[in-house]
């Protein structure tokens, strides 16, 4: 209950954060255009279209979140709110988790809205499972990618000056999302550790992956491994950001 109340207030804060909307809505629209116009696009009329759109949204909107959340753990240091929140009997990790959850709800809402609109269109065309699929895509493809981008940004922001952290976080996300396995440099794409949803999309929804899998098509198990891996990465990134932020706070 307490956590819900904290998330509710954080939601309000991020909901009124104009810069977040200004960054995320145009990128979501751009992603939607790409999802429709791309030669790889299966269109908007079936589940594969929903999954593909979810992946494109995850890739492009996460660029904005990689740039936006470098001060997620550190803004409070500048404003004094960090000190104030430290005097709460609630653990700082719980307070920060509520902030992350609130930010995540706001971040996903614009993309989710587009997925829901596509699902409604599909329902009118007779696809009764479309809404469920849209929600599933938001949960297992869109959300992990967004949270990883936010986590990278938050961790780098806790360790580095904000502007440098923003640049590096965008570069890191660009490497994770766009680096093709066809080039002779290491990449997670093409394997089950990819963070843009290919293993889940192919393994669970039977779509064509964006990057050709290195070791044959992704299976249901690849999807499970991928999701667990992404959850671990998310936890590690935010725990690291929290620890780094606390460590710096104790030194000043």
């Amino acid at each position: 209950m307490r956590m819900l109340s904290l998330v509710r207030i954080t939601l309000l804060m991020f909901y009124r954060h104009k810069a977040l909307w200004i960054a995320s809505i145009p990128l979501a629209l751009f992603a939607l255009f790409l999802a429709y116009a791309s030669p790889m696009s299966p269109g908007f009329s079936n589940i594969h279209g929903l999954v593909f759109t979810g992946q494109v949204l995850a890739i492009f909107t996460s660029l904005a979140y990689a740039a936006s959340f470098s001060n997620l753990m550190t803004a409070g240091r500048r404003t004094g709110m960090d000190e104030l929140e430290s005097t709460s009997p609630l653990p700082m990790a719980a307070i920060r988790s509520a902030h992350v959850l609130g930010a995540w709800v706001i971040c996903i809402s614009s993309s989710l809205l587009f997925l829901v609109l596509i699902a409604v269109y599909q329902i009118f065309r007779g696809n009764g499972m479309a809404m469920l699929a849209a929600l599933a895509v938001a949960l297992v493809i869109l959300s992990p990618s967004m949270l990883i981008a936010m986590g990278i940004s938050a961790l780098l922001g806790a360790l580095l000056p904000t502007i440098l952290a923003r640049i590096l976080a965008v570069l890191a996300w660009a490497w994770l999302a766009f680096y093709t396995p066809l080039l002779p440099l290491p990449t997670l794409n093409g394997g089950p550790l990819s963070v843009i949803g290919d293993p889940i999309a192919q393994g669970w929804f039977h779509t064509n992956p964006m990057y050709v899998p290195a070791n044959g098509p992704f299976t249901v198990q690849s999807g499970v491994i991928s999701l667990l891996w992404q959850v671990c990465i998310i936890l590690l990134l935010f725990t690291g950001a929290n620890i780094a932020s606390n460590h710096i706070k104790a030194r000043v």
Binding site: L6, I9, M13, G80, M81, E83, S86, T87, R251, V252
Partner: protein, 286 residues
């Protein structure tokens, strides 16, 4: 709440010790915490509020050792804190912000939080703007939001760092009165450079210098440090040498100085000391 600080030391890497073997007992009521910049006041308050841990030493509050996480968590339920620099979340209104602080202080009942927030915002004179975004409020109004949040949850220990900085004279007096009222049945630690605020509200004072306790005791005792050493000079052209000048009052005949010294210039008249004189007398004793 009775606070006992026992050989407290805080080292920050690469800097002189912010607190250096500080030992002091603080009784219940209003306590003025004063000292020059860098004396360790803010560090002491940050340790008292559980934000940072000491390098060495202990703090006992009503006999409970704060080095125990359970005791620290218990204290935080009864703690109000106003940091020196605070910018409340600008996207929230004062009412929403106080609601947030209420959640942080584990006030479970939403209605109770809202009622308390309303009352406190009225007490600090923000009832007309309680639904406007904090980002649009003046610096003084934001400070008052900070003061109101420190009082959420009816804390038994209130720690306030420079609370009246940025307030207009009317608000300053209003807040001073509020603090004095609160200090009747709880412990309030008031850190400030405005000695007049301490003189008006705090029966007990603690002076820190270079992380050490230079004085702790009744405020009257500190004032007494300057008894027999506080003088008003006749109007003179140049400031006297080898004295501590408290203030200077220009007159058509020259400047009249209020000084603390054992050897006043000829024609000086002894006067009753105040807290500023006592503080300066103590500072010049080092």
């Amino acid at each position: 709440m009775f606070i006992s600080i026992d050989h407290l030391t805080k080292d920050f890497r690469g800097r002189p010790a912010a607190l250096n073997d500080l030992t002091v007992d603080l009784p219940q009521g209003m306590i003025g915490l004063i000292g020059p910049n860098g004396a360790g006041k803010t560090t002491l308050m940050r340790i008292l509020t559980g934000i940072i841990k000491p390098t060495k030493g202990k703090i006992f509050i009503d006999g409970q050792d704060l080095s125990s996480p359970a005791n620290r968590r218990n204290l935080k339920r009864h703690l109000g804190y106003l940091p020196q620099h605070i910018t409340p979340y600008e996207n929230l209104s004062p009412l929403e912000f106080l609601d947030y602080i209420g959640i942080l202080k584990m006030i479970e009942n939403k209605r109770a939080r809202q009622e308390q927030a309303h009352t406190l915002l009225e007490q600090v004179g923000l009832e007309d703007v309680m639904n406007q975004p904090i980002g649009g409020l003046s610096g003084g109004m934001r400070r008052r939001v900070g003061i109101a949040q420190a009082l959420m949850g009816d804390p038994r220990l209130l720690v306030v760092d420079e609370p009246t900085a940025g307030l207009d004279p009317e608000e300053r007096m209003r807040f001073r009165t509020l603090l004095a009222q609160l200090g009747q049945d709880r412990t309030v630690i008031l850190s400030t450079h405005i000695l007049d605020d301490v003189a008006q509200t705090c029966p007990w004072v603690c002076v820190l210098r270079c992380g050490r306790n230079q004085y702790d005791g009744p405020t009257e005792g500190l004032i007494h440090e300057a008894a027999g050493h506080t003088w008003i000079t006749p109007p003179i052209a140049a400031p006297p040498n080898n004295v501590t000048i408290i203030n200077a009052e220009p007159t058509p005949q020259g400047t009249r100085y209020r000084i603390v010294t054992d050897t006043p210039p000829a024609g000086s008249v002894e006067t009753a000391p105040n807290l500023e004189d006592g503080y300066m007398a103590l500072a010049s004793e080092r």
